[in-house]
Symmetry: D2
Subunit: 150 residues, 4 copies
């Protein structure tokens, strides 16, 4: 388990993601971390995010976000977005996104083009108040806890 590879999903940099400077517009990259978040719930955790919200009445709104943008992204780049859980607090869950880039046929390099550390709070959607994630959620999220330093 120590060597388990973190969940990854592919997100292409789109034509409309590019800005006046010719690179991907960073608010769009933040938007893509939410795409990855939704893929993570569906394919890694095993509870699709619509089910989290609409059946289990839980939400994970953003409370604190830190992002580092290290390399510009171009049209045609494919993001291999790695999603892991950095920390599970009493009512908070911190997710870590690392975007590795595939350009053309070369495999993605070892250095992420950008990294986002995102602290969410587990919210009861009926009361809009924080609550500890239910045991099943905690257990499923713990599987994706990132080992070692982030």
């Amino acid at each position: 388990m120590a060597s388990r590879r973190a969940f990854r999903c592919e997100i292409p940099v789109r034509f409309g993601d590019i800005d006046q400077a010719g690179i991907a517009y960073y608010p769009t990259l933040i938007d893509h971390t939410h795409d990855a978040f939704e893929e993570f719930w569906e394919r890694a955790v095993g509870i699709p995010y619509p089910t989290v919200l609409l059946r289990d009445r839980l939400g994970f709104p953003m409370v604190h976000l830190e992002a580092d943008f290290r390399k510009p992204l171009r049209f045609g780049d494919v993001l291999e977005m790695e999603v892991s859980v950095a920390r599970i607090g009493r009512t908070s869950v911190t997710f870590l996104y690392r975007a590795f880039v595939r350009r053309g046929r070369r495999p993605a390099g070892p250095e992420p083009a950008f990294e986002v550390r995102a602290t969410t709070v587990c919210l009861d959607m009926r009361t809009f108040r924080p609550k500890p994630p239910p045991p099943r959620y905690r257990r499923l999220l713990e599987v994706h806890l990132r080992r070692g330093t982030p």
Copy 2:
């Protein structure tokens, strides 16, 4: 009244609106017609769209849209977005958007850079079913009926 100038609002073409081809990405322009739609309700009709939705429980979802894109738009262009009502049916309202462009200090030219004709249906948001717009709405919208062609 025949010569009344239609409602206009200003919407700048933003840094992030630009795409890989160096011009404004057309889905973003469609998005900007909705910004103009919201300004129109607030400043021309006199009922802010949040009030329409949340107090009066009406919505005007899009059912048919036709758009003509005539000139590419660049970063720094300012859209003078003209909004008028092309037709009020039994339960439908068709809006017309014409985007005149101001580039630098020159006033906007007489030819729109793009034009959108958008047919919405008046919806009862409690039942999600079409209904005729209430008389007050009809009256306020009729003021902005576009005379003559298109």
Copy 3:
């Protein structure tokens, strides 16, 4: 070939696609047709759109768009976006998008939730002037010409 099934790709309706009315915001759906357009070039035509633009210096900007929105889309719906070519003119190419919806485990129904007919013009990106699509492009696009009425 007459019965060849048109190209389809899957695009999930995302958390952020939803608007104040609780359904997918239509400018975002238009944006998703461009995602499908890019997938179409890469996987159906066989020339990724970055190659079209950056190597072959061609672009296909939108000149006329018609859209019909028939059913509201919800968070968790998956769009099976069908892309075909409706018409190839001298310098124009018209694409047809039909969005079939998969909700939960049921297969997508036979009626599209929305349909977009989009006329683009083939542009020489060096001069920003229309030009006939090169023979190779015409040939590859003709394969996806939609038979019968649209």
Copy 4:
């Protein structure tokens, strides 16, 4: 000057900004800080951002961003976005955004609904390399240096 009020501009929360949870989608709020950034250059610094990029060939891409989201934002809220300069380094400029919220007729409260601290690097757009901001830029930005804490 010590009591000079920082630059503010108004940005309404739009119909399409709302997400499945019924509040403004946070990547859209990040996008709105860029709208405020562009307004800041035009109206506070006095050099419109298109001029910065296209005439002076400078860019200020994001390298590090920290955001705190304290209160959910609803459709109809108006953001009074305050923009100031937190720090000018050798080649970096850090901007501070604080979003005060006006709901209905009440004036905006003293606590920001969200806050973004954004470190950009001054880039020579011809070489895509960092360079110290030209003296005129440094002078104009220093005027908006935020005094005291954060």
